[in-house]
C-alpha cells in the first residue's frame, strides 16, 4: 500500500491472512471473502451513483456486514457514519440529520424501532441476516447489493487520499445533543494500530499478538469498537463478531471459537464474570477495558477468574490516548497485587501522544501522583474540532490541544490516573472531590454491588458528595459510614471526602454505553442538572 487508507490496509494483509477466519454470529467468512464481498458492494454502490464524500449511515450490531461496509465505503470514498442504536429516537434522528446521511443501511433486527425513519429516507438498504431477510417487499437488501456487484475494485478506490474523511460518529454525553466527530482515513488507521502496537510492545494484561482470536464486545459505533474493527487484519488475528449475542452466548463464542482477547466496558466485564461464575468456570481471557472507572473490587474479581486486563483511556473526541502497562521495574505477573493495582488505575500515553495535566490557569500541575488537574491531550489523530459546532470546538480544541474535561493526577513516570469526569466531580469548599475515586473505594465494601457518587448543592460548601448504593446484601448507611471512617483512618482518603449521605436503590440506571447514568439518577433524586 502506498497510503494510509482503510481498504488498502485490508488489501495488503490478504497475501498473508486472506484465509484467516472472520466469524460473524453463526456465519463463517475469511478476510479474503470479506474483501471480495466489500469489493462487490463498492462496485454496486459506485454504479448506483454514490459519490466520493457522501455520508452513509450504518446501523448494525457488530457483524460481518458492518465490517464489510468499513471497507466498501472506503473504496467508494464515502464516509461511514456508524449510528449509535442505543440513542433515544430523537437523538438518533438528530445525528442522522446533522451528519447529512445520504443513505441508511439498517439491520433488519431494528425494523421495529426505525419504522418511522424508514418513510423519511428513500435511500435505504436493509442489512439482512440471510438472502431474503425480513425486508419489506420491494426494499433493497444488502445481500442483493453483494449479488449484483462485480468483483472489480472501483477506479475511485485508487483516488482516495489518506486525509480524506473516513468516518463520522457522535459523542454520547449525558447532557445536551450528541456532538459529531469526523476523522480521516489516516486517523482511523493510526490510532487503532497504535492501540494494537502498544498492547504488543508493552507488558500489559491485554497483550495482543498474531496468535490471538479477537472478539470486540465494544460496539462498532464506539470508535470502530475502540479500533478492534480495524486492527485484526493488521496483526493477523482471527476475528469473531458477536452480532447480537447475549452474555451467555458470548461465553459460548469464547469457547467455540477460542477467543483469547476482547474489549468491553466494566459493566460488560461484570456481567461476563457473573455468567462465568454461575457456570462455575474460569474465564481465561485478556481484556481491554475502560469507558468508566474499573473498581478495585471488579479488578480483583476479574483476576481471580483468570481475566487479565489493561485499562484504556480515550474518547470519541480524542480517540485513544493512554493504556495501562506494567512498568519496567514491576513484577510482570498481571495478577500480583501491585501490578494489578497499576494495571487497573495508571494508564500510559500511547506513542505519539502527549498528555498534560493542567490546573484552571492552564499550567501543568506537579507530577506527584497527588495533585489533581484537567487532562489536555495532543496527538497526530486529534481533529480540529467538533463537526459543524464552532462554539463547542472553540472551547475544547485549543492551540492544537484537546481539553478533555477529565480529571487526573499524573506520576513522575508519565503515567496518568484518571479520577473523574470534571463535570461529575464534586467541588466542596473550593476543592475537587473525585467521585470516581470515592466510588472505587466504596465498591470495595463486600455489600456494595454498584455505587454512584453525586454532587448535592450545599449552602456552606457549594457542593457535597452523596452516595447512591445498589446493595448486594443487607446494608445500612451506618455500615458504610464506619467503613469510610476506616478508610480515612488509614489515610487513603481525606475526611472531607466522606459522603454526607448514603442512599439505597434497587438498581442504578445505565447509559447507552453501560456507564451509570448519573444525569438520570440526579433527576430521580431531584438534584437538578449539574
Amino acid at each position: 500500500m502506498r497510503r494510509l487508507v482503510i481498504h488498502d490496509l485490508l488489501y495488503s494483509s490478504l497475501a498473508q491472512y486472506g484465509q484467516l477466519e472472520v466469524v460473524s454470529g453463526p456465519r463463517r467468512f475469511t478476510y479474503q471473502s470479506v474483501w471480495e464481498r466489500a469489493v462487490r458492494v463498492a462496485d454496486r454502490l459506485t454504479r448506483m451513483g454514490v459519490r466520493r464524500g457522501a455520508v452513509i449511515g450504518v446501523m448494525d450490531v457488530n457483524s460481518h456486514r458492518c465490517l464489510e461496509l468499513h471497507y466498501a465505503l472506503s473504496m467508494v470514498g464515502a464516509v461511514i457514519h456508524t449510528l449509535n442504536f442505543r440513542l433515544a429516537a430523537a437523538d438518533l434522528l438528530y445525528t442522522i440529520t446533522h451528519a447529512k446521511d445520504e443513505w441508511l443501511f439498517v439491520w433488519e433486527g431494528f425494523a421495529g424501532p426505525v419504522d418511522k425513519l424508514r418513510d423519511q429516507f428513500p435511500n435505504w438498504v436493509w442489512l439482512t441476516d440471510g438472502d431474503s431477510g425480513g425486508a419489506r417487499e420491494g426494499d433493497r437488501t444488502y445481500e442483493a447489493l453483494v449479488a449484483e456487484g462485480r468483483l472489480v475494485v472501483p477506479d475511485q478506490a485508487n483516488r482516495v487520499a489518506e486525509d480524506d474523511p473516513y468516518s463520522i460518529f457522535y459523542t454520547t454525553g449525558t447532557t445536551g445533543r450528541p456532538k459529531g466527530m469526523r476523522y480521516a482515513h489516516r486517523d482511523i488507521l493510526l490510532a487503532p494500530l497504535q492501540i494494537a502496537n502498544h498492547l504488543a510492545l508493552h507488558q500489559t494484561g491485554a497483550r495482543l499478538s498474531s496468535a490471538d482470536t479477537v472478539m470486540p464486545l465494544i460496539p462498532f459505533f464506539h470508535i470502530h469498537a475502540w479500533g478492534a474493527a480495524i486492527f485484526p487484519p493488521y496483526i493477523g488475528a482471527k476475528l469473531v463478531l458477536p452480532e447480537r449475542a447475549t452474555v451467555k452466548e458470548q461465553l459460548e463464542l469464547i469457547d467455540r471459537e477460542g477467543v483469547t482477547w476482547s474489549n468491553m466496558v466494566p459493566t460488560q466485564l461484570h456481567m461476563l464474570l457473573d455468567e462465568a461464575e454461575a457456570a462455575d468456570r474460569a474465564l481465561p481471557l485478556r481484556v481491554l477495558t475502560g469507558g468508566s472507572l474499573l473498581t478495585a473490587g471488579l479488578a480483583q474479581r476479574a483476576a481471580r477468574s483468570g481475566v487479565s486486563f489493561s485499562l484504556i483511556y480515550g474518547g470519541s473526541d480524542q480517540l485513544a490516548t493512554s493504556i495501562s502497562a506494567i512498568p519496567r521495574d514491576m513484577d510482570p505477573n498481571p495478577s500480583s497485587p501491585d501490578t494489578l493495582q497499576a494495571l487497573s488505575t495508571r494508564t500510559r500515553p500511547l506513542p505519539f501522544v502527549e498528555v498534560e495535566v493542567r490546573d484552571d490557569s492552564g499550567l501543568a500541575v506537579p507530577q506527584d501522583g497527588r495533585t489533581m488537574g484537567e487532562i489536555w491531550v495532543r496527538s497526530p489523530w486529534l481533529p480540529r474540532g467538533y463537526l459543524r459546532d464552532e462554539e463547542h470546538s472553540r472551547a475544547a480544541y485549543i492551540d492544537g490541544w484537546f481539553r478533555t474535561g477529565d480529571l487526573a493526577v499524573s506520576f513522575p513516570d508519565g503515567s496518568l490516573y484518571v479520577v473523574d469526569r470534571q463535570k461529575d466531580a464534586v467541588k466542596s469548599g473550593g476543592e475537587w472531590i473525585p467521585t470516581g475515586v470515592l466510588e472505587a473505594v466504596l465498591s470495595q465494601h463486600p455489600g456494595v454491588a454498584a455505587v454512584a457518587v453525586l454532587a448535592q448543592p450545599d449552602d456552606k460548601w457549594g457542593e457535597r458528595p452523596i452516595a447512591v448504593i445498589q446493595a448486594r446484601t443487607a446494608l445500612s448507611g451506618a455500615d458504610l459510614r464506619a467503613f469510610m471512617d476506616g478508610e480515612v483512618a488509614s489515610g487513603r482518603i481525606p475526611r472531607f471526602w466522606v459522603p454526607d449521605r448514603f442512599q439505597f436503590a434497587e438498581t442504578l440506571p445505565l447509559t447507552s454505553t453501560g456507564k451509570i447514568h448519573k444525569a438520570a439518577l440526579r433527576e430521580t433524586l431531584g438534584l437538578g442538572e449539574q
Copy 2:
C-alpha cells in the same frame, strides 16, 4: 506530537522515558539529556546559519553524538547524510559530493583517513569523545556546539513537515558507484516503527518489548541501524550504543548493561558466537539478522548458544520489507527444528507492505514454495527513485513498485524465501541456480567455515556454479562432492545445481557490510565481472 516528524517522536516519549538510560561506550546519558544536548546543537546550528534543507554529512561510529544529531538536524530541518566510513576513499568522496553535503561532522577517530577531505571542506566539525578531543587547533568541535547552544528549541523545529526530506544514505552495491537514497521524516518513522511493531505483534525469535535493552550492532549508516536508531524511545527500551567496541567488548557491554536485543549481519553473529564459545558461555540474546543469507549451520549454532533470532529482508533502496515470524499453527519455541528452519528462511511482509514474486515477463509466479522469481515491493515508505539518477530509477522504480533484483520463492501463506541476489545467481541452461541456497547447503558440512558460490562462464550451459571454500578442517573437493551427492539423493537439491568445481581459500574477502565480497573474489579468481 501532531506530525510524523523525527524529533517530535523523541519529544513525545520524554514524559514516560526521559529518565531511561542511553549508554554510549563508557558514557551514560538519558533520553532527556540526549534531547537537551540535541536542542543545544540545533540552536547553535540555526544561529550559525544552517538552513532548512541543508545536507549535513555525519561520519561516526554508533555513538550518542550521532544519535543526538539525528534529532538536532531534524529540529533544524536539515538532512542527515550518514556517511559509510567503510567505503573506499573515492566512493566516500563521491557520496559527499553527490549528496551535496554542506557540512561534515566527523569523529576524531577517523582523523587519519579523512585528512585529505579535511582541507576540501571548510564547514567541518569534529565529533570528539571528550571536551577537547583530538581536534586540530582552531577546529570546531561538537562539544563546543553543545556548550555554546541554548536550551531553546529553534522556531524552525515547528515548521518541519513530515514529508520534508530527513535523511540520505547510499546503497553499497558490489559494482558501480554507490546509489543515493533520500527519505522523508515520515518514511524514517514508519518503516523502523513497523519493524518494532512486527517484532512485538508476532511470535518471533527477536521479540521486542519495553522491557528490553537494545544494542544496535548494525552501523547507523545502514538505514539508521536498520531503524534501531529510531525505535528505542518509541518502545521505551534502554539503548546501548557500542561505539567502536570490539567483539570482546560487545560481549562485555551485553553483560554489564543487560543487553537483551541486538541486530547484526550473520558475519557479526558468527564472530560473537566465536567469542562466546571461546569464553565457554551462553549468549542469551534476541537478534534480528539479515543482509546476507543465514546458513542453517549458523542458525543451529546460534540456537545452541541461546540466541533466538528473526531474519529481516530489506535494503537501502526499499527500507524494511519482511521479517521472519512463527506462523499461528507452528510450535512457538524458536529453537524447535521446524520453527528454527522457518525463522531462518521464511520472512513475512510487514504490515502495509505488498510483495510480489514475478517472472521475467512481470507476471506473479505461483505461490508454491518452489517457483523462483524476482521480488517486487510496494510500501508506504518507498521512494520515487534514486537521488539524481534517472536512469537507474527508471529501471528499478516502476508504477509505484520497486524491482529489487532479488530472487525468491513465495509460499501459500504469503511468506517469502529470499534465495539470492539476482545478479549473484547462476543461470545454467536457462534455469536459475540460487547461489545462496547452495551456500546454505554447503555450510552444513562440518568442515566448511565459509563458502561462496560463483558463476563461471560455460560454453555449453552459459554459466555453471563453482564453490570457493574456507575450510575449518582438512577437506577435499571429493569430500564435498560426496556430500552434495547425498543432498541430491535426498531430494534437497537437483543434480544440476552441484558445483562443477570446489576450490579452497585461506579466507574469503568481505565487503564493508560484512558480506562475502563476491566481486573481489571473482576478480581474484579471474572470473571477470558478472
